[in-house]
């Protein structure tokens, strides 16, 4: 999209779990404002790739730069990178002992040292933005799956990240709740957020993704615009996989 500032630069990423090689030398660059969807069969390494960008999984080889900052090596500042990358998980991982508002305001307060008043005011705005302005005092246990995931997105946004990582954000949701989460994500796309999304939501891909990455057995098999990948994939493996999920 817009300019060509590289936001995420993955170079030869390797992850060896001992029994399996989850990533076998992956190269991928994501530009500022770009939306990249990662698809692939389970065990293809797509979640591992996403989780290695903020080092929830430590790479065993290769390097990743987030907005120019290295993830591995003596100059790596992992907390800076984590502040700059927001992550949304499949099963929300909201903090059950904190209200929705506290879930959102906690990290800005404790990590960025923003005052309680300001971080709560910002949290309120974020709740409005994800359509939950009236649920600030609810605990996660009182929210539906879709509402939880929207709070989780707001929580990640509260750190004002440069990149948002979504790890199967709709997989744990009942079908009728998928749309409310995808709508929030589409809003983010409109605002120009750089996003990497592991998901099989083809509707979202067609509506919003700039590129679709197909991974299999720890490698990137094919990259292209959604139409091209979905209708006209070059690789046999891609076509076979898509036949299963479409």
């Amino acid at each position: 999209m817009s300019d060509n500032r590289i936001m995420v630069d993955i170079r030869g990423a390797e992850k060896d779990f001992g029994i399996v090689m989850a990533l076998k030398g992956v190269d991928l660059t994501v530009n500022e404002g770009e939306v990249v969807l990662i698809i692939g069969p389970s065990g293809s390494g797509k979640s591992t790739l996403l989780r290695s960008i903020n080092r929830l999984e430590a790479l065993t080889g290769g390097q990743i730069f987030v907005d120019g900052d290295p993830l591995v090596g003596p100059d790596a500042d992992i907390r800076k990178i984590r502040e700059e990358t927001g992550m949304v998980f499949q099963d929300f991982n909201l903090f059950p002992h904190k209200t929705a508002l506290e879930n959102i305001s906690l990290a800005p307060m404790k990590v960025k040292k923003i005052s309680i008043e300001e971080s709560e005011a910002r949290a309120r705005k974020l709740l409005e933005r994800v359509g939950l302005g009236d649920r600030g005092d609810s605990y996660p246990g009182q929210l539906s799956g879709g509402q939880k995931q929207r709070v989780a997105i707001a929580r990640a946004l509260a750190m004002e990240p440069k990149v948002m990582l979504f790890d199967e954000p709709t997989s744990a949701l009942d079908p009728e709740m998928v749309k409310e989460v995808l709508d929030v994500m589409l809003d983010l796309v409109k605002e120009g957020m750089t996003m990497m999304v592991v998901s099989h939501e083809m509707g979202f891909a067609r509506a919003a993704a700039d590129r679709v990455v197909f991974m299999d057995e720890g490698e990137i098999v094919e990259i292209g615009p959604p139409e091209e990948i979905f209708e006209n994939a070059r690789e046999e493996r891609t076509r076979k996989f898509l036949k299963h999920i479409l």
Partner: protein, 264 residues
């Protein structure tokens, strides 16, 4: 946690898909109430109706209560701190820390509390003079700290991995994540288990009577040696401990209810 209240018969609490009968069964007479009513009635009957020699015994014995409470309270605090660090040590990423915490737990759990108490007071007394009270608090804390350590470790490990990941992904340090996210949730899980330890500590505090601390039991023993009223005296001692223990167990249960009322 929606509960079906005001309904006779076993009360069922609806948790995440699991139906669990709760401790209170909805009847006015439950086992806790029955036991404490018996204990208090028995004490009142003895002291105010049978009177001699029970009123005298009670006055002597109850003077030991402050010491019993003091030792128990000190040991509760000490063992929580020790248990917390032991639990953290066992799950820490340093091998040396794991070993130190692990050996402490194995060592202490393998030696009876009475032996530890006598060792600290009499054997170590050869090198430095410890007063009875600090010796008792230290011995109980060290002993129960090992058990608490196991409880903390299990409690921390019961918190889903995603909680730590979410906290780290937001830029928190491991220490912040532990303090703000993991431990508050752990406390809630382990409260019933550490509550049981509190009650056990109250009862085991009676062991300190061997190191010349004048707690409830010690006062009773002294009284027996003066009057030879062993049955009468030890009956009162037993009833007094029973009342204290039942009250403490109720306090722990109330704390649990309060914690459960929050969230959800």
């Amino acid at each position: 946690m929606a509960s079906l209240e005001q309904q006779r018969g076993p009360r069922i609490e609806v948790t995440d898909g699991a139906l669990l009968p709760t401790r209170g069964d909805g009847y006015i007479i439950d086992s806790w109430r029955l036991t404490i009513a018996f204990a208090i009635l028995a004490l009142i009957t003895l002291i105010f109706i049978a009177k001699d020699p029970y009123d005298q015994i009670f006055r002597v014995v109850i003077k030991g209560a402050p010491l019993t409470f003091g030792v128990t309270a000190g040991a509760i605090l000490g063992s929580i701190v020790l248990g917390l660090f032991t639990g953290l040590g066992q799950i820490a990423r340093g091998r040396a820390l794991n070993l130190v915490a692990g050996v402490y737990v194995e060592l202490i759990r393998g030696i009876p509390l009475l032996v530890q108490l006598i060792f600290i007071y009499f054997a170590l007394g050869k090198f430095f003079r410890l007063d009875g009270f600090p010796a008792a608090v230290i011995a109980l804390s060290i002993c129960y700290g090992a058990y608490m350590g196991e409880i903390f470790r299990a409690g921390i490990q019961a918190i889903p991995r995603g909680q730590m990941e979410a906290a780290l992904a937001l830029g928190m340090t491991r220490r912040q994540a532990m303090r703000l996210i993991i431990l508050p949730q752990t406390m809630k899980i382990i409260l019933p288990a550490i509550g049981n330890e509190f009650i056990a500590m109250l009862k085991d505090s009676s062991l300190v009577s061997v190191i010349a601390l004048r707690d409830i039991l010690r006062r009773g023993r002294e009284h027996v040696s003066r009057t030879f009223l062993s049955l009468e005296t030890y009956a009162v001692v037993a009833l007094v401990y029973l009342v204290f223990t039942l009250v403490l167990s109720k306090l722990v249960a109330m704390m649990e209810d309060r914690m459960n009322k929050n969230e959800r």
